[in-house]
Symmetry: C2
Subunit: 199 residues, 2 copies
């Protein structure tokens, strides 16, 4: 391969990656705002400023685009969460609050739309079930690491799982109204319960 061809190839890959990223971010924003019924590849392409053809080159089907988008943004959030606490369980209460924050933003809203749509659409169902399991496992792993939870002790695994279920429920309670004030009181109380339970 000539030097010129190599020079041309790299920026092209960069451009392609940037396009893909814009599509993924636009897809999550679109899903959060308009729900599954209002989220088509065409709507997302327009929002991302990308041609419909380019969008379909990256994501052949609507299912490909939206499951990839929720996974991509979930990974971004996980990386950001780990970066917030590079030393691990310095302040458990802050870690718990940050975990709950995972479930109160546009990503959770987008994921919720995708899950609910998947519960009635077979084609989407198996894809989203797999995705949910992967994202759930990763979130559990992060929670255990950042909380410094010792899962070899009986009950600790279920304690952490239950807390993440609570966080998900708090996200749901925030869907229609701003539930911040109540949520902060609940998290403060449960942080105290967890502090005792995790030792």
């Amino acid at each position: 391969m000539s030097t010129t061809a190599e020079r041309d190839r790299v920026p092209k890959q960069d451009r392609s990656r940037a396009t893909r990223q814009r599509l993924l971010e636009a897809a999550v924003a679109c899903l959060a705002e308009h729900g599954w019924a209002g989220s088509t590849v065409a709507v997302v392409a327009e929002r991302a400023g990308v041609s419909r053809g380019a969008a379909q080159h990256h994501f052949p089907t609507r299912e490909d685009l939206f499951t990839a988008a929720v996974e991509y943004v979930a990974e971004e959030r996980s990386t950001a969460l780990r970066a917030l606490f590079p030393e691990g369980a310095a302040d458990r209460r802050a870690v718990l609050a940050a975990l709950v924050d995972l479930y109160t933003g546009p990503l959770f809203r987008a994921a919720l739309h995708l899950w609910v749509a998947a519960s009635n659409e077979d084609q989407l169902g198996s894809r989203v079930t797999e995705l949910e399991a992967r994202v759930g496992r990763e979130t559990h792993r992060i929670a255990v690491d950042l909380l410094g939870a010792d899962e070899s002790r009986p009950g600790v695994r279920e304690t952490v799982q239950g807390f993440l279920d609570m966080a998900r429920g708090l996200g749901l309670a925030n869907l229609l109204t701003d539930d911040t004030a109540r949520r902060e009181r609940v998290v403060a109380q449960w942080a105290a319960l967890l502090e005792e339970a995790l030792g």
Copy 2:
């Protein structure tokens, strides 16, 4: 009013109430199975074996039918839950399990579809927000009563609220796959922690 007219009037009211009830139950089942997009007044009327006109006589709009349906079934579930524990907090663990059960059946699935649809539809939004607040308050009241929780003690209110948020999150985790085995372990562990927290 003549005696004959009175005799005729009572069965008519009964018939009307029975029709209304069939419509409400069919609406919840339909919402749970097909989601908001697939749930129209016509589909529900057919499922209930009621004419479209009769359905519209009882519920002038689609929003009327589905919000009334979720509220009706939620009330039925609340009444059934109280009846399960006529003596109150005999067995806290059984009460906690029964509270979690509220969020794993067709009613929760139907309510979830309605909430998610309401988050993108203004017309439905305010109706469902009010409904969610009413049902949420009632569920909290039942939980406090059945658990024998003393809300005058600091933190007890938030402990109960957090548990109900956890129950809602467990319901969400059960949407795409049967999460029963994991859920039972989580509930067992948190029942032990809550026993301590509630005293």
